[in-house]
Amino acid sequence: MEPLEEELVKILDFEKYGALTPIPQDDGVNPLAKINYSKDYEQGMAYFRALAAKQEYSIRAFNLTCFLIMHNPAHYTVWAYRFQTLKHIPELIPHELAWLDSVIEDFQKNYQVWHHRQKLLGITKDYLHELEFTKRMFDLDSKNYHVWSYRLWILQNFHDYTKELSLIDNLLEEDVYNNSAWNHRFFVLFESNANHERSLQQELEFLYVKLSQASDNQSAWNYLSGILKKAGPNQVAWIANQLEKLLPSSNRFLLEFLAEYDPTRSKAIYENLANEVDRDNQALWNWMIQQVPQT
């Protein structure tokens, strides 16, 4: 029998909480690709299984989940048990966020840590703190999909959209190509129940400025296509006229837009794209030429 690692001796505190019989890993019959554990993790898990078997939601259980999570942050069973322990010992909750903040940099792309945070918010209801937290996370990685999903969840559950436009504007100032920011803009202005006063025309003006700064911006062009589905013919004409000012251009998105807007020019523009401007995508443009109705 291997002696227990020192850190685990402290965590498990048998004197205070009582003895515990560890449950070793059951690898099943003929273990397939037997996993090579580190000794302390293997021991920690053996005691975790013992605690889980008797449903002990104590401080030592809590501390053990911390130990295990630091070794393997994707272990969803351990996260779930940690959350149950927090519900049994609510005094631990205020410290939980501080601990999560301290480990988040290592776990930025881990599903479990974000789900845990979301469940915690369901208890604390301190969504303003969490909105501020996601904003800080965007400084580290402005496109982190988990962070955006989390912020989306906060908005859909707490309905406070007042900070969104300024956040998006700032992110687009830093990086006008940030697809996540463009997506969020569309969601806030056109799909959410946010109260805002942006008109479609204001958005078109905003888009024109951004596109004239960087006309190769896929995200902005997709956004434009999206909002034009909600626009009236005058608005479409307005933006088309504005965008004409960017010609002549070898920008395939601009040319594509103009081809769609004015069917009388489609074929000529697609041919230009296929044969000169965007030969890489010749197959696509040739397909588009086929789609143009014969008149």
């Binding site: 397939l32 993790y41 994707a74 469940k119």
Partner: protein, 312 residues
């Protein structure tokens, strides 16, 4: 640089998966174990080496991952989750061994995870994500119990995940991401509801994923990664627009991610290989009809001969 598919090296890589004790973070991967079995089975099959699979050993192990709830855990003694469940069922189907488990119980487990709005939880703790709905739909189809799913609610929810760019995100409002495009489009394909989406717009977005070096990324302005070979190509294959991607450039990119020493594929050249990227690099090459690879069913990410055999 011209490069071939290093079949022998990849087989060595797969054969040694259980033995590489020196990999630093290998011992962290308990939570990925059932997934790793699926990824390695698919890899062997794509390379036309399914006879190397120790069928009995795999089936016994998967049986030991079954939990009381009817779902599969990632490893014996762990909690059930829908992702482990679909991987396990996919592997059991590939090994003609679905009769070794209680199919009805697994189907009931999956259905118990469907929410009222049509979406699906990953497990009883409630995390909801389009991946989980796909896992549930895929799994129920393999079990022949799609009738137990609330299909119209599922389709309605998937369509709510659709964005202005024609793609799909993790949940309604979330940014379009290639992995979610795959899960949503494949879900709709299995449920025979592809006519509900604008396939041209979607094809456009997908074709835009190809970067200058031929690789595919998951969102605009992000780096290409071999696994996006699968996430992007499979929906393109489903909507019959595979030719919207430059095949040769992409093949070159994927092959450049092979590890010439150990075999296996990584996310891009000179990174460390792993069995996940190996699986999806091979399935992507298969979709691109790279010579001498077994064909794959884009909807299920299973060998085509398997889904044909079971009339899926």
């Amino acid at each position: 640089m011209s490069m071939d598919l290093e079949r022998v090296k990849h087989l060595n890589y797969l054969n040694e998966l259980g033995q590489r004790q020196d990999e630093l973070d290998f011992w962290l991967k308990e939570h990925l174990h059932v997934s790793a079995i699926y990824w390695s089975c698919m890899s062997y099959w794509m390379l036309n080496k399914k006879e190397e699979l120790n069928k009995e050993q795999i089936v016994l192990f998967l049986q030991s991952c079954l939990t009381e709830s009817g779902g599969f855990a990632c490893y014996p003694g762990h909690d059930d989750h829908i992702t482990n469940t679909v991987y396990a069922i996919q592997v059991l189907l590939m090994l003609d061994s679905l009769d070794r488990i209680n199919k009805e119980k697994v189907a009931s487990y999956i259905v118990s995870l469907q929410n009222e709005d049509g979406s699906m939880k990953g497990d009883r703790w409630g995390e909801t994500d389009a991946r989980f709905l796909y896992a549930g739909i895929n799994c129920l189809a393999l079990l022949g119990r799609l009738d137990m799913l609330n299909q119209s609610a599922a389709v309605d929810w998937i369509l709510k995940c659709r964005n202005f760019d024609g793609g799909f995100g993790l949940c309604p409002g979330a940014e379009t991401h290639a992995a979610y495009v795959f899960t949503c489009v494949a879900s709709l394909a299995i449920l025979e509801q592809l006519d509900r989406i604008d396939q041209d717009l979607l094809g456009w977005w997908l074709s835009e994923r190809q970067t200058k070096n031929g690789g595919l990324n998951g969102r605009p302005e992000k780096l290409p990664d071999t696994c996006y070979g699968w996430w992007v190509l499979s929906p393109l294959a489903i909507i019959k627009k595979l030719e919207w991607i430059d095949r040769n450039d992409l093949i070159r990119f994927i092959l450049s991610a092979q590890d010439q020493e150990t075999g296996g594929f990584s996310d891009r050249r000179e990174d460390v290989p792993d069995v996940y990227h190996t699986c999806f690099s091979l399935t992507a090459l298969s979709l691109l009809q790279y010579p001498d690879l077994k064909p794959v069913d884009a909807r299920f990410c299973l060998p085509l001969e398997v889904t044909k055999k079971y009339n899926l």
